[in-house]
């Protein structure tokens, strides 16, 4: 009797009779349905139009509610037997996860839910998201058309637990005015060594209160963009489930980072895009999602470029998943919807409205996309950078609270603490979390 069902004790502690009666007939959030349908080879071919009501929980990433509604209309036109309820499931990814967790406790699950790079895994690990592979076979969805790096971000054991949706990467933004004042070539830096050289020149021309480069602080996803620097030095946050914080190369990378911070080359803030957009810094590493806002704010010419280094740009952003606890029939309809709003045409609409990445290879062949990229070179940078992306380290995105812990350590490094001491502490911390929360749940 060492384990007991959460639903039971969530339900029962109060007013005995009624509540118990209710819990008995409610809440499909438990593992049983999920595991049963995980063996989804039993799913029959089903390629007809979708039917029934599909509930789509989204935080409308990138203020995309109107675009989402447009895509839903298009879906309904093709699937007259289906209706889609678009639910305002939160103001950010954390809130969507919180609401989904509440639904897991209390039933009434959605059919399709937006999950971010850091929220999807815990749901998958606890068997609350369905693997899409077999459902994809049943509806004859060609998952190979998804950009490999983006689709494989959701791979765990032998399945994929989401399809890519609002996907972003970091981009290198630079202020051309300050660039020419500093006498730099009109391009992004080749690597971080060059960046450091340039930073010295940029600092000299940056306005009062500014710096060479704008970065988010540790509470606002510095840990995300900094993978770029760590990887360039051959380091990593982790390799598979082994943390690599104490690795000599990781430490070398972060010592280099601390050196630049000590020189005052960085300006850290809650919102790096605001600092860069106001002309305070010569450059910045921010999400592709910030492109629209920066374009609007900046009163100076700016350009985007690849991140420093080769093939070391982390992916990011959100995908959409399907709860494990709903019926197979609902899952099939859910994936039909999910694949529709991420198909080539939808992707083109969505990415042009929001600035996210096209998630399908075929989308790049669409005329509308080609002409859009032609007209928007800054968006094109992101798409061209896509083949150089690399899936993020497990320690950041898959370990519960990993990103926040790394962010905290990076803040400490910026504040001048000894890199090795901080990283050794982080190493132990993350090892502990993996041993306690992940290893026991991995299939042997």
């Amino acid at each position: 009797m060492s384990t007991f069902s959460r639903r039971t004790f969530l339900g029962l502690t109060g007013v005995a009779g009624t509540t118990i009666g209710l819990s008995a007939c409610a809440g499909t959030g438990g593992g049983s349905t999920g595991t049963a349908s995980a063996t989804a080879s039993a799913l029959a071919k089903n390629t007809g139009p979708a039917t029934g009501t599909i509930e789509f929980w989204s935080n409308h990433p990138g203020t995309s509610k109107e675009t989402e509604l447009k895509l839903i209309e298009a879906f309904k036109a093709e699937n007259p037997g289906a209706t889609v309820n678009l639910v305002d499931a939160g103001k950010n990814y954390e809130e969507v996860a919180q609401k989904f967790n509440a639904a897991l406790a209390g039933g009434q699950l959605p059919d399709v839910v937006v999950v971010s790079d850091v929220t999807w895994f815990n749901f998958a690990l606890n068997k609350q998201l369905a693997a899409v592979d077999d459902i994809a076979k049943a509806i004859e969805l060609d998952t190979d058309d998804y950009v490999d790096a983006l689709y494989n971000d959701y791979k765990f054991e032998n399945g994929h637990y989401a399809v890519p949706y609002a996907r972003s990467t970091p981009l290198f933004y630079y202020n051309q005015d300050l660039w020419s004042k500093a006498g730099l070539e009109d391009r992004g830096p080749k690597d971080w060594d060059e960046m450091k050289e340039w930073a010295a020149k940029l600092k000299a021309v940056a306005p009062d209160g500014g710096a060479a480069m704008a970065l988010a602080d540790g509470s606002n996803y510095l840990d995300w963009v900094l993978q770029n620097l760590v990887w360039e030095f051959g380091g990593a946050y982790s390799k598979d489930w082994t943390p690599k914080f104490s690795d000599a190369k990781t430490i070398e990378a972060l010592t280099f980072f601390q050196g630049m911070a000590k020189e005052g080359y960085f300006k850290f803030s809650k919102d790096a895009a605001a600092d860069f957009g106001a002309g305070l810094t010569g450059c910045g590493i921010m999400s592709t999602g910030s492109l629209g806002g920066v374009t609007k704010n900046a009163k100076f010419p700016f350009k985007t470029a690849f991140l420093p280094g080769e093939g070391n740009c982390p992916t990011g952003g959100a995908g959409i998943g399907i709860p494990a606890g709903i019926t197979d029939e609902r899952k099939v309809n859910a994936l039909k919807f999910a694949s529709f709003i991420t198909n080539a045409a939808s992707t083109v609409t969505f990415t042009q409205a929001t600035g996210y990445m096209p998630v399908r290879k075929s989308a790049l062949k669409e005329e509308a996309e080609k002409s859009f990229l032609e007209a928007n070179p800054n968006s094109r940078t992101a798409v061209e950078q896509l083949p150089k992306t690399r899936s993020q380290d497990n320690a950041r995105v898959l370990v519960p609270g990993g990103g926040a812990k790394i962010g905290q350590a990076l803040d400490q490094i910026v504040a001048g603490q000894d890199v090795k001491t901080v990283m050794d502490g982080l190493q132990k911390d993350i090892e502990g979390v993996i041993a306690a929360q992940i290893t026991p749940k991995l299939p042997k």
Binding site: R6, G31, G209, G218, F268, S269, P400, V414, Q437
Partner: protein, 343 residues
């Protein structure tokens, strides 16, 4: 403890003068109408005596009046609280359908963890500063705006206005006040040639930022309660004091403050309880950072452990510890204030 609260009694809007007579007469007290008549006539307030045991009708009426509220509280506050206490003995992952009993190991971990001390210190500093400052300033403002001054209605509304804004909105809005590059404060400081501290990156300044923001917001609450108390107060004491020719400060100390003691007691408890549970402002401003726990308070840690680290079992442990701490602190407050009222 129950009896103590009863004995303390008094009221938020008036109440005991701090005089020694008649004020220990709680529900269990012996004072009857005769006792009241024998009291200092300048002390008209006090808890009603229990002249006789309640009749059965009164008992039933009390039940009828209390039951709806009690049912709601039991269903939606205490039932989850009991859940929470149970969960604190498990390793529950927020997304998992299963939770394993782990005995008291979460509590042992809490006692041994390095961040426990930081979180407790943050909570203590934040709570102490907000309770003391918002009460002192709230009272000062209530006294000021209780006077016949032209335009006081406008100022009253102004003082109350921040309280009306939601914590989340204030957190968002105040980035335009504190932002070290674009905020109001850095701009004002720049005018006198001082560099703005980086409120978002330095733990000490970040804590200062959320604390002062919370006080700014919460002033309207202490202000309105004190103002209501001042206005419901009866004037006898003032007149007596004026006849005595007491100085203003003496009048304030000897007459007004004792009169307001029940209000002060009420506010000290409610402000403390709401300060400890502050969430929105911290979430919107710092997310508990910088450096991971610069502004991490107990309630924020509950959220962070449950929904970010997904350790709902450990989050429940922190919540339970917090509940127990509040229970003890409130009990001490009740005792202390009660003694004060009697002295």
């Amino acid at each position: 403890m129950g009896a103590d609260i009863g004995v303390d009694a008094g009221g938020v809007t008036g109440g005991s003068s701090g005089g020694s007579s008649g004020h220990t007469s709680g529900p269990a007290g012996p004072t009857g109408p005769a006792g009241a008549a024998g009291r200092d006539p300048r002390v008209p307030f006090g808890p009603p005596p229990l002249r006789r045991a309640g009749s059965k009708g009164e008992w039933l009426l009390a039940a009828a009046l209390l039951i709806p509220n009690l049912v709601l509280l039991f269903l939606f506050v205490y039932r989850p609280l009991v859940d929470n206490i149970r969960l604190s003995f498990t390793d529950w992952n927020i997304s998992s359908p299963q939770a394993n009993y782990v005995g008291a190991s979460n509590y042992v971990e809490w006692l041994g963890r390095a961040d426990t001390r930081i979180v407790l210190t943050n909570t203590l500093i934040f709570t102490f500063a907000t309770v003391v400052l918002s009460m002192v300033l709230g009272l000062a403002l209530a006294l000021l705006l209780d006077q016949k001054l032209r335009g006081r209605n406008i100022v009253r509304s102004m003082v109350f206005a921040p309280f009306v804004i939601s914590g989340a909105a204030i957190g968002v809005a105040f980035q335009f006040v504190f932002d070290p590059s674009f905020g109001l404060i850095q701009d004002l400081l720049a005018k006198i040639g001082v560099a703005s501290p980086n409120f978002y990156q330095r733990p000490g300044w970040a804590l200062f930022m959320v604390t002062s923001t919370y006080i700014w917001k919460n002033l309207g609450y202490t202000f309105v309660i004190y103002l209501a108390a001042l206005q419901a107060r009866r004037g006898d004491l003032d007149e007596a004091a004026e006849i005595d020719g007491a100085s203003r400060w003496n009048h304030f100390r000897k007459v007004l403050l004792p009169q307001l003691r029940p209000t002060t007691f009420f506010l000290s408890i409610t402000v403390l309880l709401s300060s400890v549970q502050v969430f929105d402002i911290i979430y919107a401003m710092t997310r508990g950072g910088p450096i991971g726990n610069g502004t991490m308070t107990l309630v924020f840690q509950v959220y962070h452990e449950t929904f970010v680290n997904q350790r709902a079992g450990y989050g429940a442990t922190v919540a339970t510890v917090m509940f127990l701490i509040l229970l003890v602190v409130t009990a001490v407050q009740v005792r202390f204030m009660d003694k004060g009222a009697r002295a």
